[in-house]
Symmetry: none
Amino acid sequence: MAQRSADPPKRRAAEIIDAAAEVFDRRGYHGATTQDVANVLGIRQASLYYYFPSKEEALAQICERGVEGHLERALAIARGPEPAREKIAALIGSHLAPMRDRAAYVRVFLKERHHLPDATRRRVGRLARRYERIVQEVLEAGVAAGALRKDLDCRMTALAMIGMCNAATAWYGIEPDADHERIVAAFVRLALDGTLAARTRSTRAHR
Amino acid sequence: MAQRSADPPKRRAAEIIDAAAEVFDRRGYHGATTQDVANVLGIRQASLYYYFPSKEEALAQICERGVEGHLERALAIARGPEPAREKIAALIGSHLAPMRDRAAYVRVFLKERHHLPDATRRRVGRLARRYERIVQEVLEAGVAAGALRKDLDCRMTALAMIGMCNAATAWYGIEPDADHERIVAAFVRLALDGTLAARTRSTRAHR
Amino acid sequence: MAQRSADPPKRRAAEIIDAAAEVFDRRGYHGATTQDVANVLGIRQASLYYYFPSKEEALAQICERGVEGHLERALAIARGPEPAREKIAALIGSHLAPMRDRAAYVRVFLKERHHLPDATRRRVGRLARRYERIVQEVLEAGVAAGALRKDLDCRMTALAMIGMCNAATAWYGIEPDADHERIVAAFVRLALDGTLAARTRSTRAHR
Amino acid sequence: MAQRSADPPKRRAAEIIDAAAEVFDRRGYHGATTQDVANVLGIRQASLYYYFPSKEEALAQICERGVEGHLERALAIARGPEPAREKIAALIGSHLAPMRDRAAYVRVFLKERHHLPDATRRRVGRLARRYERIVQEVLEAGVAAGALRKDLDCRMTALAMIGMCNAATAWYGIEPDADHERIVAAFVRLALDGTLAARTRSTRAHR
DNA sequence: CATGAATGAGCATTCATTCAT
DNA sequence: GATGAATGAATGCTCATTCAT
């Protein structure tokens, strides 16, 4: 008797969106049919519309959950007192964190956000650009503090790091033996130290 | 010489595929209609079928051109006599090279290859895995030769580098001031040296 | 007497039908949804079915009330001893009378009766034809008695008068300054005297 | 060889709209399905969309044709030099004229115009009000010129006459023995002379 | 070469209706 | 009395594809 029937309405709606996220991930937004979603749930297609008003709205909700807290976490890290090296590590960790429990949402956001209705898409675009700038500024601050290479191309590097993390979502959970910790560790190490052995380091600009 | 009416059929067919690549890039394979493609060309929808037999086949051709020579170039680099450091740089350069003149094809390959018919998709998947392994083996050879960090996670690092390059296609040509050389230079530098200043380098495994 | 909880069920049912009449009037039978009706009442769509068994049945009830007493009043007038001129006036008054308190019902009857199930529709059609004949016979009797023009086309004129009244329902209650009395007076006057000034009357067949 | 293939595209489109007008007339706009229209034509439902872009647009085109020239004809009559009596007759004739060859279009306009998209509906509403005013002004001028009754309620009478004509569309072509000329003659006579025999005329306001 | 016409298959969405609670 | 949940049967519309010309 204790705790039960907490939120039956929301519960079911969440299941529906979950199924939609999975299907949109697998087939793409336009390649997926509402019938596909219904099949996953074992209900009739028409029943979906009791829970969400349109396919497009479902996409919007999925994308929203896919980036929920993303910017906020990055901001908190950027504003912290840690040295640049820790911040970079933390940013990579934070970027990949939602993959643990919302992989499909994140992937749908990354691949299908372009199909959001115009207004939403533009808003999302602005958030993405803010996110990029936060990472870039962490790098810039690191350079200024002498913690990072003086000749670092902060803009390109920020985009490279973000891209690296985003691309990982494509094989996250599929690549054998690649658990979360290993991925984060390797990415952080690459981002901080590169691949070269100590003595072979190219201290000047390459080329 | 006399380059008269050399290959008018092929010429036009190439324009058609070009238009399809552009449209598939912008709208996604399933989001794009053959009408969209026809609009770009200023011809009627039905006329497209004079040049390619189906939308799916057009996707296949685009994807093929998107990765044309990719594996071969990587193989040539991997087999070369250069030290690991040069090979890594060359691989990144080679990976991004097609973006200069076939950006839409590359992007369509990356985003839409999943919608290829099963047989083709699996073949492409195998090629991709071979490509990953080539990069990975370059790294492994570099470690063995002492040119790269002993504790390098070659598999993860290979995937990270590839992902970084692939992700770049999303903003390649759009990001202001980011010309080809700058992108390649920054990516190579990150891959080789990371971001840390020399004295702050973490010679042991991070964490 | 004691009108305690006399008819709470009927009361509510009447409100439901009222709302349906309003909505059917505004949107048309097929253009209106049961959700629209529920919205007007502030209840859930499913709750409607507690009161009426189907949308079609609701239409039937509305149409019935829309013509309730219509034929009976016309019959009473036709059978009365008054001269034709009074009967015509009374018929017009009677025709428009229900607009005072059941406008939506009357309008729905006029516009949506065609969508009634076959059996009902045919029965209603028969009533309508009887009504037309009653009016026509009043005119014919008037002609025979010398009260009305000898050359009157009784059939056409009956239909014209009825049509004039029915058409008025479209703007009844909307047309500014057109109160019930004014409408009836104008219609009666037109039906009796036409528009021409006395000396310009065309006593012979026009044209 | 002589004359042929004149306008095959427009010809077919006109047939489609013709069928739609007939079906919308019979079933009402919302009660009619595009399948119904296709059935009348003996083609597949999807083929309709080769000729018109939406059901709503078909309604718009039908309504447009239903009132084509209506206002213009009324204006020409109103501005003419004839006495009021002739103008009234001409207006009634003009109002009913399109029923001869476009009955379904006129009926659909009258019954379904409310379902036009907002912008179109409002534009049509304005035209209707202009039309009413034209008729009303003809009556007012007639009163001023002494041709019509001094106490005529011009507004109500205009609406009554228009309503009478519109209502006739409901049985036009169905009512036995009611050919065009008979209808027009009866309506004109009623509008001019009313129903009363000459000696029984009520020269003062009735009541 | 290219197109106008047409279509089969499918798609998102709507809606009246049911029913257990 | 009333409702939340679900559904069957459309419905308007899209789209890749075909084919005679």
